[in-house]
């Protein structure tokens, strides 16, 4: 058989310097290769054929993950131009939209990815429910999923305040006003969230820190555990109604 282009590239000096080991041929070699690959280690080596199809998951888990990555990339860009203070925040966004290269576009990407991620995560949950994929041995991964849903909502909610426009200010005012009704400790919860009696510069700083530091770190860790459990729970056990 004639060698393919890829095979020929791999034979060159440069090719061999990049691809550390020769081509993996047998199933065993391929499995070992997958297992040893850092980027793939959250994935299982093998899955049941039915899990490949669109019908199984509608790919909503991966879609949620993609949107999250898009949010990190666009969000880091926004951070270069944003200072979380009532005197600067709004002006920063205006400057971003009018004077920063791709500023408006990147802000759009961040905003629409955020809304879509909430939709995707909810849809993923519904799909998992209707497929019955929360049943043993996957119960705990469902629980981690609920944590992910709550974290996703919190990410979105804390980000909503940051532009410091009327939309942001009053949406967060309504949202946080509910905290006051928590029995017994309502006042304290409200104080903790807002850093005062109403949405103010303290709130903006708190939400900013939550939005760009605390929540993303927790969310990344929770996603990693979620994918690890998916790998562990998945391989041999039927994961939904398609197997029955």
């Amino acid at each position: 058989m004639k060698p393919t282009v890829t095979e020929r590239v791999k034979e060159t000096t440069v090719g061999r310097s990049i691809f550390r080991v020769p081509d993996r041929q047998t199933p065993r070699e391929r499995a070992e290769g997958h297992w040893a690959n850092f980027f793939l280690h959250l994935y299982p080596v093998k899955i049941r054929r039915e899990e490949l199809g669109f019908r199984y998951s509608w790919y909503l888990g991966v879609i949620s993950l993609t949107l999250f990555v898009s949010l990190i990339v666009s969000g880091v860009y926004l951070m270069f131009f944003y200072v979380p203070s009532p005197t600067t925040a709004y002006g920063n966004i205006q400057f971003l939209q009018t004077s920063v290269p791709f500023g408006q576009f990147i802000r759009n990407v961040h905003r629409w990815s955020a809304h879509l991620m909430v939709v995707a995560v909810m849809a993923h949950m519904a799909k998992v429910f209707y497929r019955g994929a929360y049943k043993p041995p996957r119960e705990f991964n469902w629980v981690i999923g609920v944590v992910l849903l709550v974290l996703t909502l919190l990410m979105s909610f804390t980000g909503y305040l940051l532009p410091w426009d009327q939309l942001a200010y009053w949406a967060i005012t309504v949202g946080t006003s509910l905290a006051a009704y928590v029995p017994f400790v309502g006042k304290q919860v409200s104080q903790l969230l807002l850093g005062g009696p109403q949405v103010s510069s303290a709130t903006l700083l708190r939400f900013y820190v939550l939005h760009v530091a605390m929540l993303p770190v927790i969310l990344v860790m929770a996603i990693v555990i979620h994918l690890w459990r998916w790998r562990k729970d998945g391989t041999l056990d039927p994961g939904g109604e398609l197997d029955v």
């Binding site: 049941r48 879609i63 205006q94 629409w112 049943k135 009053w170 309504v174 949202g175």
Partner: protein
């Protein structure tokens, strides 16, 4: 006999018995056979991923993220709406005591979701064998969707009913 008997290092073949294995033939339906994640699943994930990304980029070229006037604590807009994913709760808030709609209900929803796999111990996965679970979940889903859509698109100043074509107050 289709296959030659295989001799593993350190073993001797004592005899070869023709026929089927004593434990019976393993019958795994094709859809449950294992396939390699690379490339079979990963190419599909890559396509799904790129598809979503392209969609987001396209939407972002066409629609700009909203930016209203600078925040003004002295001027409350009317209506005052929560972000869309909480607007369903806000809609309930206009009918129920805030303690119920704002604290008890969200708390129960989260607790209910966490507890779901431990309450529903029915091992069946097909919808027709788990009618109670499917109906309950669907009922909640529809109620939540309805409350969200009403709060988002059908509520105007002072939270009065406004048909979307008579006035639009939803904000993203």
């Amino acid at each position: 006999m289709s296959e030659e008997p295989r001799i593993v290092d350190g073993s001797r073949v004592l005899g070869v018995v023709p026929g089927k294995p004593a434990v019976g033939e393993e019958k795994i339906p094709a859809r449950q056979r294992l396939v390699f994640v690379w490339p079979h699943l990963l190419v599909r994930h890559a396509v799904a991923s790129l598809g979503v990304l392209l969609f987001v980029l396209a939407v972002s070229l066409v629609f700009d993220a909203p930016l209203r006037e600078i925040a003004n604590p002295m001027s409350t807009p009317n209506p005052e709406k929560a972000p869309w994913y909480f607007v369903g709760l806000q809609e309930l808030l206009s009918h129920l005591h805030p303690m119920i709609a704002g604290v008890l209900l969200p708390g129960l929803i989260v607790i209910g979701l966490v507890a779901l796999p431990y309450i529903d111990r029915n091992p069946q996965k097909r919808a027709r064998y788990r009618k109670v679970a499917v109906w309950t979940f669907t009922l909640f889903l529809v109620a939540w969707l309805a409350a969200t859509i009403i709060g988002f698109a059908f509520r105007g100043p002072d939270w009065t009913w406004v048909w979307p074509w008579n006035g639009w107050y939803g904000e993203l």
